[in-house]
Subunit: 369 residues, 4 copies
C-alpha cells in the first residue's frame, strides 16, 4: 500500500538530476485525495519527521482515497550551507523565494467559467477544470526560452498536487510556535486542527502553494455561483502549517504533529475509526492583515524577551538591544516595547541584527475561535 517513486526537479552544475521522493499510500478505495509536502524552504525540516511518523502510523492501515507525501521537496535549498546553517529560504543565485513560483491566473479561471454550462454537473466541471489547469501549467514549463529554477521546482510539485482535495504544505518559522494559515472560507476547519494560533488568509494569490491550490477553485465557485445563482462546493482545502522552529528536528514532537494531521484526515474520512481527534484547547484566530511584523529601528544585539505564543500587553518589553559603543552610558541597553496587545508568534533566530530586521511576527486584533 506504500509506494515510493522519485521525480527529477532540477539539474546541478555536475549535470546530475536532483530528485524528490514521492511516497503514496492508498489502495484504490474511494475517498479524498491528500497531498502533503515538506521543506520547500530547505532549513524548515521538522515536516520531514512528521511525514516519517505519518508513514509509520499508516503503513498497514486502510485508507479511503489516497495520501501523497513529498518530504524534503526542495533538493537544492536543502543542500546549501552558508556557515553552519542551511541557506534554504531563497535561491542563493538571485534571491528568489523558493515558495513563490506556483501558478495562478485569475483571467484563466474567468475564461473557463464563461464556458461552463448550467447543466454541467460538478464532477464534470471538476474534471474539466483540473485538466484545463494542468495544461496551463504544462505550457508554462515547456517554453522555447526555458523557465527559472525555482519556478520549475514549484510547478513540478504543483502538478503532483493538482488533483488533491486536501493540500498541506509543512513549514517552520525561524524561532517559532506552531501556527497555521487557513483560507477565510474554511474558517470552520480550524476546530479540526489542534493548533493554538490560526491565521485567516483571503482568497488572494501571493505565490504560495496553499493559495495556488485554493484560489482557482474558490474563484471558480464564486464565478459560477454568481452566474447560475447556486452553490458550487468543490470541497478543496489547502493549508500552510508551521511546525515550530527551523534548523531543528524532534521525533517526539513530530509524532504529536503527525497525530494532529491524522485526526484531521479522520475528520475528512480519509481514515475511519481514527484513534486521534482534535484536542479541546484555546484557539486564537487573526486575519492576515492583523498578523504584523515588528522591525528593528536600529542595529545591535538583541535578547528576545517575549517568547513565541506568550500574550504580551501594550508597552511590555519585547526585546532588549545592546549597543557595544555605548557601554559607558545609559544608551547601552534599549528596550523595545509592544506597540499594542499582541501574541508574538515567531522571532528572528540571531541576536545580531541590522536596522530594518524582522524582529517578531505577531497576532494583533486576535480573537478566540
Amino acid at each position: 500500500m506504500l509506494k515510493k517513486t522519485h521525480i527529477a526537479v532540477a539539474q546541478n552544475a555536475s549535470g546530475r538530476n536532483l530528485h524528490v521522493p514521492v511516497y503514496t499510500l492508498g489502495c484504490g478505495k474511494p475517498g479524498p485525495k491528500v497531498y502533503i509536502q515538506s521543506s520547500i524552504h530547505g532549513a524548515e525540516v521538522q515536516g520531514n519527521v512528521v511525514i516519517h511518523h505519518i508513514i509509520q502510523h499508516l503503513a498497514d492501515r486502510e485508507i479511503f482515497g489516497s495520501i501523497t507525501l513529498v518530504p524534503s521537496c526542495n533538493p537544492v535549498g536543502t543542500n546549501i550551507k552558508a556557515g553552519e546553517y542551511t541557506l534554504g529560504r531563497f535561491d542563493p543565485v538571485n534571491g528568489t523565494n523558493w515558495n513563490r513560483g506556483y501558478f495562478f491566473d485569475e483571467s484563466a479561471v474567468l475564461q473557463f467559467a464563461d464556458e461552463v454550462k448550467e447543466t454541467d454537473d460538478i464532477i464534470k466541471i471538476k474534471q474539466d477544470f483540473q485538466r484545463h489547469w494542468q495544461a496551463l501549467i504544462q505550457d508554462k514549463i515547456n517554453t522555447d526560452w526555458g523557465i527559472p529554477l525555482a519556478q520549475r521546482l514549484n510547478l513540478t510539485l504543483q502538478l503532483v498536487a493538482l488533483d488533491a482535495d486536501i493540500v498541506m504544505d509543512l513549514h517552520n518559522g525561524p524561532v517559532s510556535s506552531r501556527h497555521i494559515y487557513v483560507p477565510e472560507y474554511a474558517e470552520c476547519e480550524i476546530g479540526h486542527f489542534s493548533v493554538s494560533h490560526n491565521i485567516l488568509i483571503p482568497n488572494r494569490f501571493a505565490g504560495a502553494l496553499d493559495e495556488a491550490t485554493f484560489c482557482p477553485w474558490w474563484t471558480l465557485s464564486q464565478c459560477l455561483e454568481a452566474k447560475f445563482s447556486r452553490c458550487y462546493a468543490f470541497e478543496k482545502y489547502a493549508y500552510t502549517i508551521e511546525m515550530g522552529s527551523q534548523e531543528v528536528i524532534d521525533f517526539a514532537e513530530g509524532d504529536t504533529d503527525a497525530q494532529n494531521i491524522l485526526a484531521y484526515l479522520g475528520e475528512k474520512e480519509v481514515l475511519f475509526d481514527c484513534e486521534f481527534t482534535a484536542l479541546n484547547m484555546t484557539r486564537y484566530v487573526t486575519d492576515l492583515a492583523d498578523y504584523k511584523t515588528l522591525y528593528s529601528d536600529f542595529g545591535g544585539m538583541v535578547e528576545y524577551v517575549a517568547k513565541p505564543g506568550q500574550l504580551t500587553k501594550r508597552g511590555e518589553t519585547m526585546a532588549r538591544m545592546l549597543n557595544i559603543d555605548e557601554l559607558d552610558n545609559a544608551n547601552a541597553v534599549k528596550e523595545i516595547a509592544a506597540p499594542c496587545d499582541l501574541i508574538p508568534i515567531l522571532h528572528f533566530p540571531s541576536a545580531s541584527v541590522l536596522s530594518g530586521t524582522q524582529l517578531y511576527k505577531c497576532f494583533t486584533n486576535f480573537r478566540v475561535f
Copy 2:
C-alpha cells in the same frame, strides 16, 4: 560649487550608522534638477567611476539648475562578500532585491488628480504633487512597527531624488554590453544618449527608481489630460543606465560614460556650450516585453559563445555546455542555439550553472532607432 554631505541610511549590528555620500553641484542658477546615483546593487561599481569623472569635469564649471550625485548609495550591499565576489544584488538575510522597494501608489495619484482644478497652473500642480508625494513617503518611513532595511534605504534615497527633473540610476549587468532603459513616452530621448542598445519600458511600476520617478508624473499627466482635455507636460525623465559588466571598474571607460551623460545634460541645458555631444551611431530599440531571458534547461559548465552586443541569427550557437559525466560519449557537449534572431545583451558571469539559470538576456524583435 561642489558640496559634500552624508546621510545615514541604516545601522549595522555594531549599532553604527551606515552613511551614503551626497555630492551637489550648482550655484543657484535656474535650470533642471538632476539626480544621479550608482551601485544600489553593490557589485555594480562602474557608476562610481562615472560619478568621479562627472565631478572632475564639472567641479569648476557653471551649472544651470543642480546636479546631485550619490555614489555607492548602498553601504550594506557594497560590503558583503561571499567568497571573493560582492553579494550585492539582494539582502543576504531575506533575498530582497535592493532595487525594488521604492514607493508608488496609483490610487494616490488618482486621488490627487481628483482635487486638481482646471485653473491650477502647472507650477502649482508640480509643487503640490511633490509635497503630497513626499508626505506619503515620510508616512511609509515613520510607522510604529518599523520598515524593512531595503525599503528604508530605497525610500531615503527616493526622498533625495524627489525634486529632480532628470534621474539616472547607474547599474551594471553581469557580463554585459552597455544599455539603457527608457520610458516609452520618452522614446525620442534615445537619440541624445550614445548607447547602442535601448529598452523601452511601459508606464508600469515594478519597484525600481526610474519607474518610481516617472510613473507618478506620467500617471498624473494622463489623468489630468483626460480630465481637462489638455496637455500637461511635467518634463520628468528617469533612466536606468547599465554601464557594462559588474565587479569591474575602468577609469578610461568611465570617462567616456561621463562624457555621454554630460552630452545629455548639455542637451537639457544643465550645461551650456557643452563640448560633448551625442555620437552618430546605430541605436537598437526593443520593447521590454521583447527583452527576453534564455534559461538553461539542464545543469553543467558553460562556454558563452555569443558575445554581448553581437547579432546572432536563429539557430546559431549561443553556448556550449560540458557534462562531466558524459565525457566518454556524444553527450559530452551540448550546443544551445538561438531560438530566434536576437542580440545578446548580457550573460551569466559564471561557467557553472544549474538548470533554470538565466544564461542570456536578449533583444528580440528589435529595430533601428
Copy 3:
C-alpha cells in the same frame, strides 16, 4: 575611571575605517593588568553582554591594576549575514578563521633567552621581552607588501593585550554548555572559576589569542629555568572562555558570567573585598587531546539527543538521523551511539548535515578536578 576609545582595525570597500571600542577601568593603583575581549568570532555574542555587566559592576569601584575591555572586537565578522545568521567564524573571502592569526615565534623566544643574563631581575626581563615582542609584531604589521585582513585584526588586538597579566578571550560554542580552556601549567587556577567543564591545553601555539599570550612567557620561563636552574614565574594567565551558545544573548546569564569573572579578579587581587567568589561545584577536567570530535559518517537530518553537559555512557544514543529516501524501510532512522563514555560539550547548530560534519565535541578520559 571608565575611559572609552576606539581603534581602527580595517577598512571596508566604501573606504571607511572599521573601529573597535576599547573601554579601560582603573585609576593608576598598582596591580595586575587585565585584558578581556569578546566576539572575535562574529556570531559569538554573549561575551558582549558579559562585558556590559562587568562595566556595570565596576564603574564606581576601586581597581588595583587595570582592566581593558574590548567587546565586539571584530567589526567585519560581526556584520556579515548569510541568510538570517551571522557568518562570523571565518573571512568570507578566503575562509581564514578570524582566531588564528595572532603572533608567536618560538625561535624569537630562544634568541631572546640567549641574551638574558643571570643577573637580570625579573622586572627587567619582563619589560625587555615585552618590548622585544611588541617590535616583532609591529614589524609583522608594517611590511611593503601588506598583510591579510584577519592577521592585521589579530595583531592589532594582540598589541592592545600585550602588557596584560591576565587575558580572557570570550567565545561561544554552536549549541554549547559553558567551558574553559586553561593552560596546563595553570591547572590549579581551575578552582577559581565556576565552570563545570575545563580543558587543559599544552604549551603549543595553534594560532589563538590565549596561546599567543602564554606561549611566549611559558617558553621563556622554561628556557631560563633550564639555563640558570632557577624558577622564573612571570605570572601570566590566558584563557578562552566559552559562554554557552552562539547567536543568542541573555542578560541574566551574562550577569552570572560577569560575577564569575569578577570572583576570579578578586582572587587575583584586582578587586579587594569582592562580594563574588568561586562556587562549590563539581569541575570536570580533560586534556585537549581527549577533547574529541564526533563526525557524521553519512548525511541526513539529525536530532541531537545527547544534551551538552550531560554524561553519556558508551553505546547510548547520541543522535538520530532521518534519511528522507528511506521512509518506507528500516533505514529511515539511524542511531549514532557514543563510542565511549563521554560528556558532550557542544553540538552542531543545524539539523541538516552532510557526511563529515562535526556533530559533537566531547570530553573523554575526563576526571573530577
Copy 4:
C-alpha cells in the same frame, strides 16, 4: 580502452551519495601511470574542458601505462552558489580549504626507511612503500570518530592517485595567466611544459595533492641515499597546473592546454610518436618564497592596471583605488605602485576590496629558465 566508473566521496543532507567520475585510458601495456584531476576548487573549471579534450585525443590511441582522469573531483564545492558565483574554494560550513586535507607524515617515512635493507631492490621498495602508505591513509579514513568532509574527499582521491608516477592537479587562479608549480628536484622538467611562468616548490608538505604525492617519495629517497650512500630514483612527478582564470571555460584554449599535457606525456613515453611537443618559448622561473602576495592597505574600488603575465618595473602603477567618500578632493584616487620589479601572475577577481585583500600574486627575483 576508455572506461568510466564513479566513486562516492560524500553524502549530502538529503542522505544521497555524491559521486566523482573516474575515466581510465590504457590497455595494460607497460609504462608510467598518470593521474589527472580537476576542479578540487569548485570554481576552477577549465581543467574539466582540458580532460574532455585529452579524452577526445586519446580515445582511439595506444597508451603505454595508464591514464586516470578525474574531472570535477569535488561534487560539494562544484555545486555551492553564493550569488551568481561558485563558492568553491572552501567548505562553506567551516572555511576549510578543499585542497589542504591530503595525507603526509614525515615520521612515517623515516620509520619505513629505517626498515629498508641495502639489498632491497627499488621495485620492492616502491611496492612496499606504496602498500604502507595506502594502509596509513585507510587508517585515517576508518576511525570510530569519523573524519571531516574535506579530508575524506582528499584522502579518497589520494587513494586513487596513489600508484601514479605522474600526478597533475588542474586548477585556475582568480584572474590569472597560466602557471605551474614544479618540485625543486624536478626543475629540469620545466622545459617539457609550454608554460611561461614556473614556480619551484620545496620538498615541504603544506597540504596539497602535488606535495602529498612527491613529499613521501622524495623524503624516502633522501633517507635511503643518506643511509646507503647511493641514488634511489623513484621517478615520481607531481604538478599543480593553473589553467588561467576561474569561473570561465573556453574549449579552444582547453584544446591547447590538452595538447601541452599530451606533449609532456609523449616526453615521458606514455605516448609514442606524439604529434605534440613542447614549444620554443621564454620560460620564467621563481622560487616559492619569491612568489609574493601584494595586499591592499586600505579598502575601496580597484582598477587592476597591471595585467597578469606583464612585466612591471618597480614604482610602476599596478592598481588604482577609488574612495567614494573623497570624490571632492585629491584623495579620490590612490595609485598602488610595484614594490620591486615583478611579474603579476594573478589578481583578485572583484573591484571591491577591504583592506588586507590579496590584490596580486607576483613573481619576484625571477629568472629565465
